[in-house]
Symmetry: C2
């Protein structure tokens, strides 16, 4: 059994802890957090501590902490030459103190606080300096049920950036759509099947091939109607104009 | 059995035809298109014609044609006082010639040419001038398996506009994410589970509540890193800046 120690108590730490409980290859030997309060509910499931001096020997230490904390916490760990990884999309592997064997386990997914996550839907991007560490990390990720991929720090950074586009920005478009439908007391729920279908469509079609709509067709009548509807919503109008232009740049239509 | 005649041969017409084949309450009696070529493959399943003078008597005529064609085609129909509906998100019900009983069946979904659509995932927005026509349209939509909703022309217009945000614009964000990940030869497929989860999340959470990420947190270190990564992609950078601002306007954080 591979022994793992989790450090941190945010969303990723919590979801990893739950996922490890189902793994038959790896187990959480200990859970560290600077405040015991947030993890004490798990004290009957694993050993918990808020004292770095009491951290045990293990095969893997996972720093599931905020980006800013990786460097400092890794330096503070009172041991060397053990495998220490972080879980961040944008922190370089070399930010982990060089006294350790270093790696990254970046779960490319959005985690909600209260709902369980099926790790078959959580691709884990793996990076390591030593090849034997890479293989251990891969074995662990696979034991959680995750698809895995070898991803270097440059690739991880652009994936994290692309994730902001397809997750945070997309969700903001849902929000703007919500506001627009509410302006006439139209039911936003009517849009939910469309939202799901739009996401599902690119499972088998590239976003380029999946595009439809008035911007791509350069359907001037509809574009004009829409801009008129947005006359008293200048921010929504700006977003409409920029993304219409973006679609037309991609598909080579005329620019607005 | 309710008799239906479809006019037009685009995506919506094709998907409606397939859906009616499964209905036990309504049947397609005849299919009109100005060119027989595109529908002749269905001639063993229903009567087809390219001659408006040969259009038969039926309970419902569905104009599944382009927005621009609704007005003219409805005027050309060689009969009056029968129920004629269009399927457009942005055309007013009064654009249908007033010699007819008028209505709208707007399927709020994105249709692909080659894949079958389960109509339980196609909400149909219904509008009619006469209440008995509304009830007939509702009965027909329900027989296709669709959820239905009474939606007036103003509401339908904003739903159509909101659909552009959550479908076309969202898909363009997928495209921009694809381009960003490809710039470092990172695998776009890794983002697909995140894309699906982002869409699924708002089934039970409002987009407002579902928001996460560096823009909402006003995480300046990450925002700066991302803008630096986009230095040589001015268009992507403009979209990044506008949607970051949009999230911060919504969530009351500091403006960029």
């Amino acid at each position: 059994m591979i022994s793992v120690i989790i450090l941190g108590a945010g969303n990723v730490a919590n979801h990893l802890f739950k996922a490890f409980k189902k793994s038959d290859q790896a187990t959480v030997k200990q859970w560290y957090n600077r405040s015991l309060n947030t993890i004490k509910q798990f004290s009957n499931q694993t050993e918990i501590t808020d004292n770095l001096a009491q951290i045990k020997d293990a095969d893997l230490y996972i720093l599931a902490v905020s980006d800013d904390a990786v460097k400092e916490l890794s330096a503070k760990l009172p041991f060397a030459n053990r495998l220490v990884v972080h879980t961040s999309g944008s922190v370089n592997i070399h930010d982990i103190d060089k006294k350790h064997r270093r790696g990254v386990l970046y779960p490319l997914q959005t985690f909600s606080k209260n709902s369980d996550m099926d790790f078959t839907n959580v691709p884990i991007c793996i990076e390591a300096i030593e090849s034997e560490d890479y293989h251990l990390l891969k074995k662990i990720a696979v034991s959680l049920g995750s698809p895995t991929k070898k991803v270097n720090s440059d690739q991880r950074q652009v994936l994290h950036l692309a994730a902001v586009f397809v997750n945070n920005f997309t969700n903001q478009l849902y929000r703007l759509g919500h506001e627009i439908s509410e302006s006439e007391a139209a039911d936003f729920d009517l849009l939910k099947p469309l939202i799901l279908e739009t996401a599902k469509k690119i499972e088998h079609l590239s976003p380029y091939m999946a595009q439809t709509g008035p911007a791509k067709r350069n359907d001037k009548t509809t574009l004009k109607k829409h801009l008129k509807l947005l006359e008293d919503k200048p921010h929504h109008k700006t977003v409409y104009e920029l993304l219409t232009k973006s679609i037309q740049l991609t598909h080579g239509g005329k620019k607005l």
